[in-house]
């Protein structure tokens, strides 16, 4: 039957009409697809009812199957599984769904399942699964760790994976892939026995625009073995970008400094719009911005709030509520507000510092102007003057519609090991059955039988051991089912399900009681009692650290240390890098008519005077001698990760010609090699040093791949169950099981280097850390380019930010500031 003739369709249509709405074509298309039991991907920007595409489709399907009593039927078991990456999204989506359900007079229940769900609520869900379950990937796996889980999914009709573009390209995406392979296989074996058409499950990804939408769909639907269809909302969405230009251009730019000085320029913007989101790249800087804003506009106190991942959850929820009701003028936030929920009152977005990629910039811009048809308005505020070039590049990217891809992850054995333990806890697994399922996912379709055997062996025998003196105990084989029977091991595993690995975090509490938030252990361990720091917008004095809790009191100190959280330093994307080179190309030849570039002319003039502004087909290398030693600066504009790898390779190539040692520093624009002796790079050898030949061997030879693998290994070891992070609140009991990732890495490196997880660490280094493909492409590009060698007599505007970044590591922020000022004044003499 055609969709338009069905009762379900007409019920929904009528409900919409009563509300004065009519469906967008992409919504109808999705309903049609779900009606005919197809799967696919819905591509729509936020604020255009993407939720209603899949959700209403699921309702229509149910109404059509129960045309007479759809309003009466309750306890229908799980119908729609809604996977979402963010806890914060769940509540709002749930609320919107409940509203519709009640207006339609239906009896469906909406349940939320994530880390915040209470045990009582879970028990209730266990007894009576709601029709709709909104769940995070982690909680979905926890569901699979429950005895009797197959029962839950028997009635399931539709799976929606919201914000799939966010999950794809991360290990959480792999978790979704694995869970889907299990659920789909359960359904298929069921439909073989019942052979009912209604058992055909519909799987839909909901995604914002990314460069590889077709692949995104393929990845999700891989276990279904279906192509599916992509449904695109063809909605005109205009994005207006304005740059905030400083009155005076700093010729020696450095990150973090300029931004704050521009605070007075954004106060009028905040006053003008209903609500403004101020996106800051790091939690540390967001704390500073919050303080500075209060300083600059004291009358806005109470109407400005702070929102980031380390802030107490209740406070965050309060901020989100206040955003909905337009009670706030401005929220200073980090990526914590990147996703999902529509805050309708948000009229303006300000991005401070480079967003590092076009997609993220557009996503943040999209947080404003939620009414269909309304433009998204975003201001770009540079944290150092060179970033204005990025603003110009971003505008160009939007004009040309160039958006990054998200590369799906491949062969994540750490996630697989975790998943298999999860299944081993609940029902146990049959290796042949699960092998087929795992192979059906995109992530593991290239997995060999040998690798699978190694995975199973690792679980059952624990790798290399001294046979008779070994107590290894994890997964046992009982009647050909792989099971975990030890309750302690099972409990520990449950607590560790997940793929987001954070640094050791400590709770921060007032000594008089009251929770403030969490903070990285390494930061707080550097403070002495009595010193002050800033968290959640408050100045706090450290009293003592006791049992994994930081006890503080309110501080009256004028100066306090702002923690710099280490997470989430994103590299510049390849697309943005390319556009950036083109912008410099344009700027190097004088006036362009582009305001961001023209305002930078004094900086470019100084750069040309001392060195050169490279054209798009040129690679600039600067060699400078200072009292620190001999510096070699290279500017490929390929993002910090590629630069880190290239620095390692270059230093290894140079040191093979002559014994010499280096240290590295890098930012998104270029990198630095520093040595205590002259660096032998000149026009006789420079093309050879940047040759793509023998790249693979050189990567392996460069010492850094071990260092990088060590860093990657930390996450892998935690996800793969090699590091026990302790029980919450009772870490002492498990002290004898504690170890650091670097220790485990050292031991594996020496005693079992071929271990699956070690190999994965190196592969991740190649694929993600070094972005090997991108590195190779860069070297091929350089081969076609002209390499410009300059020998400036002092630091140039281009290399200055790299130099500053490398100093940052060893100095506190105030001392750093003093030193940089001194350097700036010396250079400008």
């Amino acid at each position: 039957m055609k969709l338009q003739q069905t009762i379900g369709y007409n019920v929904i249509r009528q409900w919409l009409t009563e509300k004065g709405f009519s469906p967008f074509p992409f919504q109808e298309e999705t309903w049609e697809a779900i009606h005919s039991r197809q799967s696919g991907l819905v591509n729509a920007p936020t604020g255009y009812g993407k939720t209603f595409s899949v959700f209403l489709g699921a309702l229509i399907r149910f109404i059509n199957e129960n045309p007479k009593d759809y309003q009466r039927l309750s306890k229908n078991k799980l119908q729609l599984l809604w996977v979402t990456p963010l806890r914060a999204l769940a509540k709002d989506i749930g609320r919107a769904m409940e509203e519709v359900i009640s207006e339609l007079g239906m009896q469906w229940k909406v349940g939320i399942r994530n880390g915040d769900t209470s045990t009582a609520e879970r028990q209730k869900q266990k007894a009576h699964m709601p029709e709709i379950l909104i769940i995070t990937p982690e909680s979905l796996h926890l569901l699979l760790a429950q005895k009797g889980y197959p029962e839950i999914f028997q009635s399931l009709q539709v799976i929606a994976v919201d914000e799939w573009h966010e999950l794809l390209g991360s290990k959480r995406g792999v978790q979704v892939e694995l869970a889907l392979s299990r659920i789909i296989s359960l359904q298929q074996s069921q439909s073989q026995t019942t052979n009912r058409e209604r058992q055909t499950i519909s799987v839909f990804a909901i995604s914002a625009t990314i460069g590889n939408l077709e692949q995104a769909r393929e990845v999700l639907l891989s276990p279904l073995n279906k192509m599916g269809r992509t449904i695109t909302a063809k909605l005109p969405k205009t994005t207006e970008v304005y740059s905030i230009l400083p009155d005076e251009i700093e010729k020696y730019p450095w990150a973090g400094h300029l931004g704050i000085r521009l605070v007075d320029k954004i106060v009028p913007i905040i006053r003008k719009s209903t609500t403004t989101l101020l996106f800051i790249n790091t939690r540390g800087m967001s704390e500073r911005w919050y303080q500075e804003l209060l300083h600059a506009a004291p009358d806005l106190a109470g109407a400005i709030a702070l929102h980031h991942g380390s802030i107490e959850q209740e406070l965050r929820i309060w901020v989100e509520e206040a955003l909905h009701t337009a009670r706030l003028k401005c929220v200073v936030c980090t990526a914590s507000l990147d996703l999902g929920v529509d805050f309708r009152p948000v009229e303006t977005v300000i991005q401070v510092g480079s967003p590092k990629g076009v997609a993220r910039f557009l996503q943040r811009a999209g947080r404003s102007g939620h009414q269909p048809g309304a433009p998204s308005r975003i201001y770009f505020l540079p944290t150092h003057s060179l970033e204005l070039v990025e603003a110009s590049a971003l505008k160009e990217a939007i004009r040309q519609n160039i958006i990054e891809s998200r590369e799906p992850m491949i062969l994540c054995f750490d996630v697989l090991l975790q998943y298999l333990c999860t299944l081993a806890i609940s029902e146990g697994f049959d290796p042949e059955q699960i092998f087929r399922e795992v192979k059906s996912t995109f992530c593991f379709r290239e997995m060999t039988t040998e690798e699978w055997e190694q995975v199973l062996q690792f679980l059952t025998t624990g790798g290399k051991a001294l046979q008779q003196y070994d107590d290894y105990h994890k997964v046992e084989i009982i009647n050909n089912l792989y099971r975990i029977t030890n309750r302690r091991i099972a409990m520990r595993h449950r607590m560790h399900i997940g793929t987001i690995v954070s640094d050791a975090m400590l709770k921060v509490k007032f000594i008089s009681g009251g929770y403030v938030g969490v903070i990285e252990e390494w930061f707080i361990s550097r403070l002495e009692p009595g010193e002050s720091f800033t968290l959640a917008g408050r100045n706090l004095e450290l009293v003592m650290i006791k049992d994994m809790t930081v006890l503080v009191r309110k501080s009256t100190a004028k100066k306090s240390i702002v923690p710099s959280w280490q997470g989430g330093r994103m590299p510049l994307s390849a697309n943005l890098g390319k556009l950036l080179r083109e912008q410099f190309n344009a700027a190097g030849s004088g006036r362009t008519g582009i305001p961001e570039l023209d305002v930078l002319q004094p900086l470019f003039e100084l750069q040309s005077e001392l060195s050169k502004v490279p054209r798009a087909d040129e690679l600039l290398i600067e060699q400078i001698e200072t009292k620190d030693g001999f510096h070699l600066f290279v500017f490929p504009f390929e993002g910090r990760l590629v630069h880190e790898a290239m620095a390692a390779i270059l230093s290894s190539r140079i040191s093979r010609r002559q014994p010499i040692t280096f240290s590295f520093a890098m930012n998104d624009y270029g990198f630095e090699l520093l040595s205590d002796q002259p660096i032998p790079v000149d026009d006789s050898n420079v093309y050879e040093l940047f040759s793509p030949e023998n790249l693979f061997a050189d990567i392996q030879r460069s010492v850094n791949s071990t260092e990088m693998a060590k860093r990657k290994f930390r996450d892998i070891a935690v996800i793969g169950g090699l590091i026990f992070q302790g029980y919450p609140g009772e870490h002492k009991k498990a002290r004898h099981l504690q170890s650091s990732a670097s220790l485990i890495f050292k031991v594996f490196q020496e005693y079992d280097p071929d271990n699956l997880l070690m190999r994965q660490a190196y592969r991740e280094v190649f694929d993600q850390q070094m972005e090997e493909t991108r590195l190779r492409e860069m070297l091929h590009r350089i081969r076609q380019s002209r390499i410009i060698l300059e020998f400036p007599e002092r630091l140039t505007p281009f290399c200055f930010p790299i130099k500053v970044d490398s100093m940052r590591e060893n100095l506190t922020s105030e001392k750093l500031e003093d030193r940089i000022k001194k350097m700036q004044s010396q250079l400008l003499k």
């Binding site: 290399k464 003196y469 070994d470 205590d676 099981l737 220790l743 031991v747 490398s806």
Partner: protein, 219 residues
């Protein structure tokens, strides 16, 4: 492997081995610390699959040291066994049986929680707190108070000392070390499955770094 290097403390001839042990010549004692035997086993029992060969290597190293120095006894300044008993303890017991002539004296460390009987069965002398022998005294964890109250030179362990060596151009390496201060010494952890704590050596101290089976005098 580099030969042991000579070092004198309180007029006593010591030999520092790159195998993370000290040989006290006049008493013919081998001094070691923080062996953390059974740690791999403890992890593996809990389902954490660290390679057990680390432990086999530690045992072999101890065996080689005994072969080389032919000591009359071994003094362990604490953290001999990592945790509760496991099968790796049995492997040690087997080894112990084959070397029953050597006296083993253990100054208990915070990790040494095995039942008293186990030590007795394996012929290990237990000492709580402090063990004195001639000009020396041995304890697990050194504190300044301890040196105040003691004339003798103290050998200790516990912290798994290491130093960070920075080269020019901001390079750095972390390496385990022997640490000899005016009135006390800290030994490196013998066990390979152990971490490092970076110490700030006092100006008077002598520091010997262990790097790739070599001993290098740092200061």
């Amino acid at each position: 492997m580099q030969a042991p290097i000579s070092f004198t403390v309180s007029g006593q001839q010591l030999w520092l081995s790159p195998m993370k042990a000290i040989f006290w010549e006049s008493r013919r004692f081998l001094i070691v610390s923080d062996l953390h035997f059974g740690k791999t086993g403890h992890f593996r029992k809990s389902g954490i699959a660290v390679p057990q060969h680390v432990y086999r290597n530690d045992l072999q190293r101890l065996f080689s040291l005994v072969q080389y120095f032919q000591p009359s006894g071994i003094i362990i300044v604490g953290d001999f066994f990592h945790s509760a008993a496991n099968r790796e303890a049995d492997l040690f017991a087997k080894w112990r049986n084959d070397h029953s002539g050597i006296g083993i004296r253990l100054v208990k460390g915070n990790h040494d929680i095995l039942p008293i009987e186990w030590y007795r069965e394996n012929n290990i002398d237990l000492h709580d707190g402090i063990l004195r022998d001639g000009p020396f005294c041995f304890t697990h964890e050194w504190t300044p108070d301890l040196s105040q109250a003691n004339e003798q030179y103290i050998f200790s362990g516990h912290i798994h000392p290491g130093v960070r060596i920075s080269g020019q151009g901001r390079q750095s390496l972390r390496l385990p070390c022997f640490y000899f201060d005016q009135n006390h010494a800290i030994l490196p952890a013998f066990g390979d499955f152990t971490g490092l704590a970076i110490i700030e050596p006092s100006p008077e101290a002598r520091v010997f770094v262990l790097a790739e089976q070599q001993i290098i005098s740092l200061q």
